[in-house]
């Protein structure tokens, strides 16, 4: 059994009450720790959503390792290849030649030519000013039947414009070719997980007589291309918004941003926006509110006064969820997040006024490495909350989990009940990468 060596750490930076927290950055930044909660998708998982595509990563060996093993672990090694950058390439400046010849070599070796190739360049290409435009032009000349798109594994750029996550969700649709818009189909853009079919959004689209298209449901490249014929694109996940807007501008589609905000008024507002775009009526909000209330109170009766912790990887609006749960009698005690998003600002201010003792914790601060992890009676919503609390009662979702609207809240209440009544082994459940991907939705 390994034991920690050295002096006891101070642990002064792991907790701040929401009453004392500053917005939008409640914690100092510095060195970063990574908890072993890995369910959030990465750029390999997301890229694999393009059917009949092949991914080629070009970077240093150390950077390749994580992505090649992601592909192997998800059973997609056949759709994944690499080109390793070595010191001589940096010194000789032959990055363009390496990219062109490397991709060519790989494509020539594949038994079946992919319909599309996602080429991921890296931080090194950026700093060496690699002429990727020339590379892609040459690759398109050599392989006229292959659609190439430029993707990026450049985490060093995360504070320079779009984050790598936002960029990836944008590039995912860059392969869509302009097509006549039929007015009878609608896209959900940039969500890794399929939207629950019983949510109001899906129901409204279907009841309007239109087809709902999601990349997670596309089985072929041709089916993926049909997304170009939709007249309306809906982004539901914050990191998908920029890509959705770019797609709408390029293909002259209409754009809606309808994130899953667990707040009744916001849900009503979003449903009205959707109804207007679909030229239909929104569902009866009062009936849905009553159903959501009933589900939450039912869950509350089962969970009782058990402490509840929420993390930002489970839901993109953790403070809104905290407010909703507190208003339904839950004993929300802890939030795990490194920053507070603009979209959560109102809920943050509400919590600050009404529930100032609520504890906030970072997830990447170095002191979290030695956080006690002994709050075993806590009900956690999210993998990081489960890990840091050391609890086996947790809702295992990431990236909003396909939830939306009132039905999303009702489904979440069911998940909370299930999590409380059926403990899970966190060590087994939270370590696999790309939660929901292994089910085959992206393969």
């Amino acid at each position: 059994m390994l034991k920690r060596l050295g002096e006891k750490p101070d642990l002064t930076q792991t907790t701040v009450s929401v009453g004392e927290a500053s917005y939008p950055a409640p914690f100092e930044t510095g060195l970063e720790y990574a908890a072993p909660a890995r369910g959030v998708w990465n750029i390999v998982h997301t890229g694999m959503l393009v059917p009949e595509s092949h991914e080629i990563f070009i970077c240093a060996a150390g950077c390749l390792r994580g992505v090649v093993l992601t592909a192997a672990e998800m059973g997609a090694a056949e759709r994944f290849s690499t080109v390793a950058i070595r010191e001589n390439n940096v010194l000789d400046g032959d990055m363009e030649e390496l990219m062109i010849e490397g991709v060519t070599d790989i494509l020539n070796k594949l038994q079946r030519t992919p319909r599309a190739v996602l080429v991921y360049t890296s931080c090194i290409h950026h700093f060496m000013s690699c002429d990727v435009t020339r590379c892609y032009a040459e690759l398109r000349r050599r392989f006229p039947n292959v659609d190439f798109t430029d993707c990026y594994m450049d985490p060093i750029m995360r504070k320079s414009g779009l984050t790598p996550d936002q960029t990836m969700r944008s590039r995912l649709y860059s392969l869509l070719k302009p097509a006549p818009v039929d007015g009878m189909s609608v896209n959900i853009i940039g969500s890794d997980l399929q939207t629950y079919p019983d949510c109001e959004l899906v129901q409204m689209v279907q009841q309007s007589g239109r087809t709902l298209r999601e990349i997670t449901a596309c089985k072929s490249y041709d089916e993926y291309q049909l997304m170009a014929t939709s007249y309306l694109n809906i982004a539901m996940y914050p990191a998908a918004k920029a890509g959705c807007e770019a797609l709408c501008e390029r293909l002259a589609h209409r754009c809606l941003y309808l994130p899953f905000i667990p707040d009744y008024d916001d849900i009503d507002r979003e449903l009205e926006l959707l109804a207007a775009a679909l030229e239909t009526n929104p569902p009866d909000a009062s009936a849905l509110r009553a159903l959501a209330d009933e589900s939450l109170f039912k869950a509350r009766a089962i969970v009782g006064d058990a402490p509840v912790a929420i993390d930002y990887t489970a839901l993109s609006h953790p403070m809104e969820l905290a407010r909703l749960l507190i208003n339904h009698g839950f004993n929300v005690t802890d939030l795990f997040l490194d920053s507070i998003s603009t979209a959560d600002r109102d809920a943050f201010l509400w919590l600050k006024r009404n529930y100032p003792s609520l504890r906030l914790h970072p997830t990447i601060h170095p002191e979290m490495r030695v956080y006690p992890r002994d709050e075993r009676n806590t009900l956690a919503i999210g993998q990081k909350a489960a890990y840091f609390c050391g609890t086996c009662r947790f809702v295992n979702i990431v990236e909003d989990g396909g939830l939306h609207g009132y039905m999303g809240i009702i489904r979440l209440a069911e998940l909370i009940t299930d999590a409380f009544e059926n403990p899970k082994d966190a060590k087994i459940e939270i370590q696999p990468k790309g939660l929901g991907c292994a089910g085959g939705c992206c393969l």
């Binding site: 050295g6 002064t12 060195l31 390792r65 090649v68 690499t82 080109v83 060093i156 995360r158 170095p366």
Partner: protein, 377 residues
């Protein structure tokens, strides 16, 4: 074409080798890289990550840090974390962008040490070499800094340091403990294991050793340093199989008497026969397995080494091959023993025996990595 892989994996890089080597020693290792780049290490290269709170962090380098130099921020952040967490030492290791912008890790380490009073090691990794390079660099730097130089070799004492133990080559399956037990049964006294299962104090007394056992290429550089500094010879090999374990124990006793180094892992039949078995992997482990198979079965073996090594560690018929195109003709037929992620490039006539390696397939086959120490194959 070199440098391309249609389907096979890539080995853990030097930047992962550093924290893997130093994980149990109470220090704080900082990878100077962009946010998120530590996930490879803590997902695939470090089986101890979930349960043990060793301090391995990332600097979270940004584009502006790279353009502006950013050493001040790095130094500030490392000092801040060190002042809160009180590590026994600090190690800072580099990645591609710090290499490109010429980060002076020795200088950064000196400034941090001056400001915190905590010993600090600067390690010039760049993610373009294998874990063996990084772990070797870390072991050697640690030895130079922390092994008590006032001690001297106790010839004839039978004390042994085991050098080059990391989960990347041995996983966490009891191999390190098996090696200690085997040495004891062979009449030797394990002094320290670099660096699984030993305390920093045990490592500090390594200079007392009579002889060193190098169990991976990652341990060779430190062994050479200990030889130069304390005079202790080293023997290279992993005690795999009954017969070869005996060979190694005898080699250790002999080295203890003569002071001469040897590499039993490079022993092959050398009778010119075509190899019947090809073993793909790290040179010391694979070479030892080859020698063990030959000793036990009489079948001729060769090692195909895709990683850094030295000629002295390679036996008759062994070869270097790291790129997919080099490996494919070598794995076309015959018996192949390798990590399962090599299987897709083996020929149809190959009889493939899976021997997973954490360094190649990460956590994917972790539960199937065998402890072969001292056991009949």
């Amino acid at each position: 074409m070199k440098q391309t892989s249609r389907i096979i994996s890539t080995y853990a890089a030097d930047i992962s080798g550093v924290p893997s080597a130093l994980f149990e020693l109470g220090g704080m290792t900082v990878m100077h890289d962009a946010s998120g780049c530590n996930s490879t290490y803590n997902t695939h290269d470090e089986p101890r990550w979930y349960d043990h709170d060793s301090m391995v962090f990332l600097s979270g380098m940004t584009e502006m840090d790279a353009i502006m130099g950013g050493d001040d921020k790095l130094i500030h952040d490392v000092c801040a974390a060190a002042n809160e967490l009180h590590p026994r030492f600090i190690a800072i290791a580099g990645t591609p962008i710090p290499m490109m912008i010429g980060t002076d890790f020795d200088a950064v380490a000196r400034v941090i040490e001056e400001r915190t009073g905590i010993p600090c090691l600067g390690l010039k990794t760049n993610s373009m070499h294998s874990y063996l390079s990084g772990a070797g660099m870390a072991f050697t730097a640690y030895a130079k800094r922390f092994v008590d130089r006032t001690l001297s070799r106790q010839a004839g004492s039978g004390r042994v340091n085991v050098l080059g133990l990391t989960p990347l080559d041995f996983s966490v399956n009891g191999s390190n403990e098996s090696i200690r037990q085997l040495l004891q049964r062979g009449g030797l006294t394990p002094l320290s294991s670099w660096a699984m299962g030993s305390s920093p104090d045990e490592l500090a007394r390594s200079g007392l050793a009579d002889v060193n056992l190098v169990v991976s290429y990652a341990g060779l550089s430190a062994a050479k340093y200990l030889k130069r500094t304390f005079g202790a010879p080293y023997v290279v090999g992993v005690p795999i199989g009954k017969e070869f374990s005996g060979v190694l124990i005898n080699a250790l006793h002999k080295a203890s008497k003569t002071g001469e180094c040897s590499a039993p892992c490079a022993l092959r039949r050398a009778d010119g026969a075509a190899p019947q078995i090809s073993i793909v992997g790290e040179s010391v482990y694979s070479g030892s397995l080859a020698a063990a198979i030959e000793a036990q079965t009489g079948l001729s073996c060769r090692v195909i080494c895709p990683l850094e090594t030295e000629k002295a560690l390679m036996g008759f018929g062994d070869c270097l091959a790291s790129d997919e195109d080099e490996l494919i003709p070598l794995l076309y037929s015959g018996i192949v023993v390798a990590d399962p992620l090599y299987k897709p490039i083996c020929g149809g006539l190959t009889r493939f025996y899976e021997l997973p390696s954490e360094a190649f397939s990460g956590r994917i086959y972790r539960k199937s990595i065998p402890n072969l120490i001292g056991k009949r194959l």
